[in-house]
């Protein structure tokens, strides 16, 4: 299985993602944002970081970079595109997934582990995963998911909510919402479910000694689903 990780100026989780993808069997290539062509890929990842120093709005500059034209075409023809953290911000700015990511409600940079309830398993990302709750890491300043009422209705009607912030038992309540996101949304799909944007970092949870292994679970499942 082939994957591509896009590096933008200011990306800083691109190499972590490379390590994670390779560990679980992907043949990964790093792709520079100024390249026009996307290598043949089964999965394209927009990694976390601070592309273009978060100038203007997080992800807004990166969403207009050369490679994004190819990424958008790839996604529109059914290709799998996953955006993590700043990658999620780039996805919303490019219009591949609906909504925006605002400054966290309490103006804090949040860096901690969170529990996430998988809301929809009828897609290549979460199909066949046994757990209903995953523990991933978040580290962001702008992860407060927001969309208009009409968009929210559409997202819910189309089952586009991928994961919600919850407690260990999977309860989705306001007190487990770290950043003020509407409906505790931590990740969403596009309508067709081939594009996934999420704030949490699965690539930081692939080592039993350093973190946890829920990321391993996710990537193992993902490559098996793509095969």
């Amino acid at each position: 299985m082939k994957s591509s990780v896009i590096t933008f100026p200011g990306s800083n989780c691109d190499r972590d993602m490379d390590v994670a993808l390779k560990k679980f069997g992907f043949k990964n290539k790093m792709v520079w944002h100024d390249d026009a062509e996307l290598p043949k890929s089964d999965l394209v990842v927009l990694p976390g970081g601070f592309s273009y120093g978060d100038y203007l709005r997080c992800g807004s500059m990166a969403s207009k970079s050369k490679i994004m034209k190819s990424v958008i075409n790839f996604a529109n023809s059914g290709g799998m595109v996953m955006g993590i953290c700043n990658g999620f911000q780039i996805l919303v700015e490019s219009g591949l997934v609906p909504g925006v990511l605002l400054r966290n409600k309490y103006l804090e940079f949040i860096c901690k582990n969170v529990f996430l309830k998988i809301n929809n398993k009828k897609n290549t990302y979460f199909k066949n995963i046994n757990n209903d709750v995953l523990e991933f890491h978040i580290a962001h300043n702008e992860g407060n998911y927001f969309c208009t009422k009409d968009q929210l209705k559409e997202i819910e009607d189309n089952e586009q909510i991928a994961i919600n912030y919850c407690n260990k038992e999977g309860k989705i309540e306001n007190q487990f919402n770290p950043n003020g996101s509407i409906k505790n949304i931590a990740g969403i799909f596009n309508k067709e479910k081939n594009v996934l944007g999420m704030m949490p970092h699965p690539e930081r949870m692939i080592d039993p000694y350093l973190s946890g292994e829920d990321g391993s679970l996710f990537f193992n499942n993902l490559i098996n689903n793509i095969k």
């Binding site: 700015e93 409600k105 927001f146 969309c147 208009t148 003020g180």
Partner: protein, 80 residues
């Protein structure tokens, strides 16, 4: 020609930064403030000398990059 644009958050969108600025002003003794909303201001110096054309071009820039229309409004306030 210089075109000036302001970008503001839409009414229903939470503005935590504006809120903190309001609180700080309050702490400084400016107690008659009802609300603070933070926005952005751009000054775009363009080669275009026709006012209408320059405004149209900047409007396109607002829609495509400068503003995110899900949460923000833009207003061209000056072109000369």
């Amino acid at each position: 020609m210089k075109v000036s644009v302001i970008i503001t958050l839409k009414k229903d969108v939470l503005d935590p930064q504006g809120k903190i600025i309001h609180q700080t002003l309050d702490g400084m003794g400016f107690n008659d403030v009802n609300e603070v909303r933070q926005g952005k201001y751009f000054e775009i110096d363009t080669k275009e000398n026709d006012q209408k054309k320059a405004k149209d071009k900047v409007e396109e820039m607002c829609k495509k990059l400068l503003a995110n229309l899900v949460i923000e409004n833009y207003k061209i306030i000056d072109a000369q």
